[in-house]
Amino acid sequence: MEQINNVGGFSAKKVDDKTLILFFGPQHPSSGHMRIIVKLDGDIIVESDPDIGYVHRTMEKLSETKEWIKNSVLFERLAILDAGNVTQAYIIALEKLLNVEPPPRALYLRTILSEINRISSHLYGMGIFAIMIGSSTGYMWFFGDREIMVQLAERITGSRLTHTYHIPGGVRRDVSNAFLEELEKGLNYIERRLKDYEVMFVNNPIIRSRLENVGVLSRERAIELGVTGPNLRASGVSYDVRVEEPYGAYQFVDFEVPVYKEGDALARTFQRFDEIRQSISILRQLIKSIPEGPVLNEKYLKLFTKKMKDIWDAEKRVKFPSIFANLRPPAGKAYGRVEEGRGEIFFYLESSGEAKPYRVRVVTPSFRNSILLKYLPVGERLADLPAIYGSIDYFPPEADR
């Protein structure tokens, strides 16, 4: 007999005296809109079925009804906390179709925004993770400090989250030297705070006992399941799109790809902190070596009217040449991939030479990592589910697209 009971606020189905099916979500199982249906034997999870799609916004279908340039505004809403990286992948693919390349200064500016986004995305993920496992101080600290990175992004782009900064052939705004000084100040602050985080969060005995040896993902399993980003690297695979297929200004800087071999929730946490350290180092190198010059490809600069040039000279702001409203990339296909905070984002574009895309395929890191929610919790205790869920930094709107 199947009966739906209310167990501690969750719906549950009793299968037999030993087994219980628990519906975890979709109202914030820990964070975001998704549900995990877990089959429990006592408090051990024997089966887990992630039920995703609650925030599916039909992005691939919608993109077929919009002009190429408008789609960059659509797609950054995949993950607004990491919008710069998402848009960059789309624009890289579009640039391949249009056969334009951004000038060096634009590449540097793109990478500066990417790394600022990465730090703020990691801090966001850690904040949510902290509250899931009951560390409200962590939540406050990470979210408070993330604000600095968000404001720095606002100084570059004019917008806190949905930047729409990347355009084919360049970026929309230049930055002043005063901004670069502010950025250095922000980085010094985050670097100092990383030490505080270690004391309060990662080396806190309560946090460690909740994360150590929980949700262990072996190297082989990570490769097999196609896991991506920090979750993959925390399982011992050194793979980063920034190294494999360098884009932006990554070829001009030195950085390491941190790797952990343990593959548990704690390793994934360390991984993210190490990546923030690398991002700080990358940003410092970029501040020192950023070249002067235009931020938009010659091809489009030539189309500037007198008024557009005046605005550029006075405010260092790019007004769109009218050609952008009616971009018609030649028929063909192209892909773009970028290492986002949570892993690799992949765009595949197909053009039929029209003003709108024929097909856009986007695979986000959270969608690729969502398979972990099916296999990782099995054999673990129910109380560890939030720790596993939080440690993979899963972001539902990004997964559902």
Partner: protein
């Protein structure tokens, strides 16, 4: 290995430095995928489809890459399978690349492609009841519009828009 796969290896589609392969028959998919996996392509980045109503075809498009063999070229390999729109059926790749599990479910709901041998083929993002037999990413799917009537421009101009 079956006989058909041995025949297929004979054509040695993979010997050149190609970055993509298009195959006409779904039967060739498994042997080819096995070859690519042996070559070092260990995971699937994207599995989806493109609808071509004009030629009455549906292309299954798979992008694969390698975590373990980092010097493998090309970094992203594209595999295309031409399917008949009337009966889009293809063997599941789940035994070769377990990473396709959720993406095959997505291609199933969005395009109606049936992956034979998939252990759990059901909708993943879309509601099972509302979207049974409806495949939104096909070109002939019409997006239902909300029935909202806005007042005419003339009414706004003449001030009758109260």
């Amino acid at each position: 290995m079956t006989d058909s796969s041995r025949e297929f290896q004979g054509t040695s589609l993979l010997s050149e430095k190609t970055s993509e392969i298009i195959i006409d028959s779904p039967d060739q998919l498994l042997p080819l995928a096995k070859q690519l996996k042996d070559k070092g392509y260990d995971h699937v980045i994207s599995l989806s489809a493109v609808d071509y109503p004009k030629s009455n075809e549906l292309h299954l498009v798979i992008h694969i890459s390698s975590y373990t063999k980092r010097d493998l070229q090309p970094k992203v390999f594209e595999l295309r399978v031409k399917l008949k729109k009337s009966e889009p059926k293809v063997p599941s790749l789940i035994n070769i690349w377990p990473s396709v599990e959720f993406q095959e479910r997505e291609a199933y709901e969005m395009f109606g492609i049936v992956f034979e041998g998939h252990p759990d083929l059901r909708n993943i993002l879309l509601d099972q009841e509302e979207f049974s037999g409806v495949h939104p990413l096909l070109k002939d799917f019409k997006i239902p519009e909300e029935d909202i009537t806005l007042k005419l421009k003339e009414d706004v101009k003449s001030g009758t828009n109260k």
